[in-house]
């Protein structure tokens, strides 16, 4: 019997494992319990609170019975990716990311109740609605930010949904916030990044001239341009969006240098908007050779960027190279500022983008009354379709707005994304 009962120690081993597991859980609970309790799916709160836009329009409110959304359907739908829904189906929605701000937690009492906590956003729901209408059912993204304060005024992604409509069948990709959670081929808007690198690395750039007859070959591989631009300056090459000139410049810079700029300017690694992680981008890191580098320098090849990263870029250019990190939630704090580009680089880019808008996008005609600095992009996807991009900012002390408009497989940048930008900017400037 003793021989046998000595072996009962095996039961104690299992018991010890259970105890170890419990300790592990307790440690985790102390460490991560707050995070768990703050998860949006936790319904243990009697907190009441409103989620308001910058004008005090209530987008969503929380009371004992749950979440309620604005009564206006277009407000609900155009702000879908801002508020999210009660099921937390969009990962960027504030229901997911800011639920915790509506409740309190302590290790002893768990989630505590009965707190009134309201959250005011920098978003302007009117601008969001205008952007939503301007996209007119196309898949796309519109971002707009005050580059002097970092206030994010507009964030719309389509297709969107009505957050209160449980039974709606979601359109393909409706849960994805194209502003933050996806990356796309940038096409010619990428030339802004190449240009920034060129300005800082090729000192006599304004003395150079570029010759384009619509196509040229690098090591036998053709690089095709959208037109025949003949002799042009650097400034003219950007406004012509000349592939020949920019691929040559990219090759001259070299892959390493260009990659360093793409990385340092935040186009590769995920960024954070008020703690909400954004999608990462890509630029070739393996050696690719000159022809492919030529294509990569003009935003083709395997380049991908997230619209939000581009917004940060144009914000910094508009603000003389200093980036005020965009903020979704208004908390009254000073914006976080950082040196993003050299001031001279930013000024040079601004000047070139102003030249673009005035001379090539018929600024006074297409964008009446706006001091626009901009760049278009038409990213060829190789199947005959293209992404339409339009990005830039207003050089206007009173309306310092930077923006990114993106339409997935939308066609030409100026013809498709341009009018969306105009309509959003007009709403922002004139109300």
């Amino acid at each position: 019997m003793r021989k046998l009962t000595n072996r009962a120690v095996s039961v104690l081993i299992i018991a010890a494992l259970v105890i170890i597991g419990l300790n592990l859980y307790i440690l985790r609970y102390i460490d991560e319990g707050r995070e768990w309790a703050m998860a949006f799916s936790n319904l243990n709160t009697d907190s009441t609170g409103d989620l308001m836009d910058r004008n005090g329009v209530v987008l969503a409110s929380l009371d004992e019975r749950g979440v309620h959304f604005n009564s206006d359907e277009t407000i609900r739908v155009s702000n879908y990716h801002v508020t999210g829904d009660a099921w937390g189906r969009t990962s960027t929605g504030l229901m997911v990311n800011y639920w915790g701000r509506l409740q309190d937690f302590s290790l002893i009492t768990g989630s505590t109740n009965s707190r009134t906590a309201s959250l005011t956003l920098n978003i302007d729901s009117r601008i969001n609605r205008a952007a939503y209408y301007a996209l007119a059912g196309r898949k796309g993204a519109v971002l707009m930010c005050n580059y002097k304060t970092g206030e994010l005024l507009c964030m719309v992604s389509t297709p969107a949904m009505d957050p209160i409509d449980v039974s709606a069948i979601p359109e393909d990709g409706a849960f994805i916030n194209r502003c933050l959670s996806a990356s796309f081929t940038p096409g010619s808007v990428f030339k802004l990044i190449t240009a920034a690198a060129v300005i800082e690395n090729i000192p006599n750039i304004d003395e150079l001239s570029f010759y384009c007859e619509g196509e040229y070959k690098v090591a036998g591989v053709p690089i095709i341009c959208s037109g025949e631009h003949y002799t042009q300056t650097f400034e003219q090459a950007l406004s012509n969006s000349c592939n020949v000139a920019f691929s040559q410049l990219a090759i001259r810079l070299g892959q390493d240098k260009l990659l360093r700029y793409v990385k340092n300017l935040g186009f590769v690694d995920p960024q954070k908007l008020d703690g909400i992680p954004t999608a990462s981008g890509s630029f070739p890191t393996e050696f690719i050779g000159d022809p492919e580098l030529g294509w990569a320098g003009i935003g083709q090849s395997t380049d991908m960027i997230c619209p939000y990263s581009l917004l940060r870029f144009v914000c910094a250019v508009g603000n003389g190279g200093v980036l005020c990190e965009p903020k979704l939630v208004s908390d009254g704090k000073e914006p976080v500022k950082s040196r993003y580009l050299q001031e001279s680089t930013a000024d040079k880019l601004k000047q070139m983008m102003a030249y673009n808008a005035a001379n090539h996008y018929q600024g006074s005609l297409n964008f009446p009354g706006l001091a626009l600095c901009a760049k278009t992009g038409t990213a060829e996807l190789g199947d005959g379709t293209s992404h339409a991009w339009f990005t830039g900012f207003l050089d206007d002390e009173e309306h310092p707005y930077a923006f990114v408009v993106f339409i997935e497989r939308g066609g030409g940048g100026l013809s498709q994304a341009g009018p969306v930008a105009n309509s959003v900017l007009q709403t922002a400037v004139h109300g």
Binding site: L4, V11, S41
Partner: protein, 577 residues
């Protein structure tokens, strides 16, 4: 909630935690801290030494682990097994059958020889004499043993549990819908009536060890709270099942009183278990992946739960039989069939529970770590083969450790469980006031999280410690058990419950893969409750503190074969004279 309600809620929180801890501490002290004397059934006299025989099954040998240790180089480390049966008849058997054992000069080969009081046992030249204790002597000795409940009144512990139940009912009254409240009150009322009538019945037959039942009722109380919170309209089922469970517990305990009957029924029980599993594999319906439900007349039940009880029964064995048939092959085959059948059903969690129980039993029976390692590697190989042939099995566990990366699909239940558990804090949101109960399987697979949410982490831990306490008690009782049958059964039961509890808790909290097994006593569901209660009978069977367990025949009821033995002895004495 109004001010009065808030006050009552806070009061009940404090009281519940204090009472739960008090109940556990009282049970702990009386189960583990108090000293209990062993039973003595006779003596072995070697020279001038008088070695007590403390069990019904004893190993005589030179080894330190021998029950009757004879420190003489002539004696082998494990030499002979000395067995006493229910009827008081002694037998002795050479462990290895190598012919180094004589009784009264008679040569004992591989079979066992009957022994009587005064018989001489010759172990390879070392002689000793068996001294049986007549009934009167044993009764005298029994009176000198410290009885259970002398220092810690079981009635007071039970009273604390009753107050605990009333305060839990109060918490439910604060949150439940008015039309559900009478049913909930009936549920807790049934618990109180059951535990006190059971206690009184035990007192009437003179049994005072009531810790196992108290802990089982404590766990069932939390189970009742879980059922009242999640499915108040179905509560009558839980009440009926609880009554049936306690009845089956009493029956099973009574059944185990007779060692010979218990041991003889192992094969029929094994066949019954296999039949249940066959029916399960053949006819059951798939409920979310696992085909472990069987529906009979509107009631669904899980046959695998009853097979658990049978598995422990079949795995247990008396010591002499253990040495007689030294291989485990028939038990290994039985276990393999059970585990494979469960895997076929898709109930991997229960299959794992069975497998670990199999390891405990086979280690206790063989003492060979090699066997255990072999079994583990064989199971690992089988698992690897299964996964490579049917990769979808691996997918079921793919979210393990990454549940927060997929909170809408694969990590849905676990992330909900974790945020609900955390939001309860240490003291809970109040019984019936959680939201996790609305999530599928909250009251079974995620019951630990649900308890954390509603009753708080402290009470949830108390619930775990109640099971741990039962396990420690099983190990302690096993050391003084009459027969290896009870010792193995008690230890196997508790390792089964521990594994099951571990998988339940840690699966829902993403520390282990989520397999969906029940928490003994607490998870809602009849078959699980039935099985948990029936298994408690094994613990009662092993508990032979003085006048403690109804499942152990008291010393004064064990007489039968004594007189004829005495007559024989007289005859022999006469001859010698």
């Amino acid at each position: 909630m109004d001010l009065f309600g808030t006050y009552m809620l806070n009061l009940s929180r404090v009281v519940l935690i204090a009472l739960a801890i008090a109940i556990l501490v009282r049970c702990l002290r009386s189960m583990l801290r108090e000293h209990y004397d062993p039973e003595v059934w006779g003596y072995i006299r070697v020279g001038k030494e008088k070695l007590p025989i403390k069990h019904w099954e004893n190993i005589i040998g030179r080894s330190k682990a021998a029950d009757i240790r004879i420190d003489d180089t002539g004696v082998r480390r494990v030499h002979a097994v000395l067995v006493r049966d229910d009827k008081g008849a002694w037998r002795i058997q050479d462990v290895f059958g190598r012919g180094k054992l004589w009784v009264n000069r008679g040569y004992v080969c591989s079979a066992s020889a009957e022994l009587r009081d005064g018989d001489v046992i010759n172990l390879n030249g070392v002689c000793m004499r068996l001294q049986d204790l007549p009934l009167e002597k044993r009764e005298d000795l029994e009176k000198k043993r410290i009885g259970v409940g002398k220092n810690l009144s079981p009635a007071l512990t039970l009273f604390e549990l009753t107050v605990f139940q009333l305060f839990l009912l109060l918490q439910h009254a604060l949150s439940a819908k008015p039309n559900a409240l009478p049913m909930i009150a009936l549920g807790f009322g049934t618990l109180i009536v059951l535990e006190w009538s059971c206690y009184n019945a035990m007192r009437i037959i003179g049994r005072l060890g009531y810790e196992v039942e108290t802990l089982a009722f404590f766990l069932s109380t939390i189970g009742m709270s879980v059922a009242a919170s999640s499915t108040p309209n179905d509560l009558y089922k839980q009440v009926l099942l609880l009554i049936a469970s306690v009845a089956l517990f009493l029956f099973h305990g009574w059944w185990l009183r007779d060692l010979r009957r218990s041991a003889r029924m192992r094969i029929p029980v094994a066949l019954f278990a296999l039949l249940l599993l066959a029916v399960n594999v053949g006819f059951s319906e798939a409920v979310l992946g696992a085909k472990n439900w069987l529906e009979i007349g509107g009631y669904s039940f899980q046959p695998s739960e009853l097979v658990k009880v049978a598995f422990v029964y079949v795995g247990s064995s008396t010591l002499d039989r253990l040495y007689r048939s030294r291989n485990l092959i028939s038990f290994i085959a039985f276990s393999a069939i059970c585990v494979v059948a469960l895997a076929l059903i898709g109930d991997f969690g229960t299959a794992l529970v069975f497998f670990v129980t199999f390891l405990t039993i086979s280690y206790m029976r063989s003492g060979s770590i090699g066997t255990v390692l072999l079994a583990i590697s064989a199971a690992g190989l089988a698992g690897f083969l299964a996964v490579s042939v049917k990769p979808y099995i691996a997918q079921r566990f793919s979210s393990w450790g990454h549940v927060w990366e997929d909170v809408y699909d694969k990590g849905y239940q676990q992330t909900r469980a974790m945020s609900a558990a955390a939001s309860g804090g240490l003291i809970g949101k109040g019984a019936g006031s959680g939201w996790l109960k609305g999530i599928f399987a909250a009251n079974t697979d995620m019951v630990f999280a649900m308890t954390c949410e509603e009753l708080g982490l402290i009470l949830a831990l108390c619930m775990v410690f109640a099971v741990l306490l039962l396990a420690f008690f099983a190990v302690r009782s096993a050391r003084q058990g009459r027969s290896a049958f009870y010792a193995i059964a008690a230890c196997a039961t508790m390792s089964m419950m521990l594994v099951q509890m571990g998988l339940n808790i840690f699966g829902s909290l993403d520390i282990l893969p989520f397999t969906g097994v029940t928490f003994p006593f607490v998870s809602r569901g009849g078959s699980s409750l039935l099985a948990s209660w029936m298994m408690m009978a094994y613990l009662k069977g092993a508990d032979n503190r003085r006048e403690a367990s109804f499942a152990v025949r008291p010393v004064n009821k064990l007489r039968s074969a004594q007189p004829p033995a005495k007559v024989n002895q007289h005859n022999e004495g006469a001859k010698k004279a």
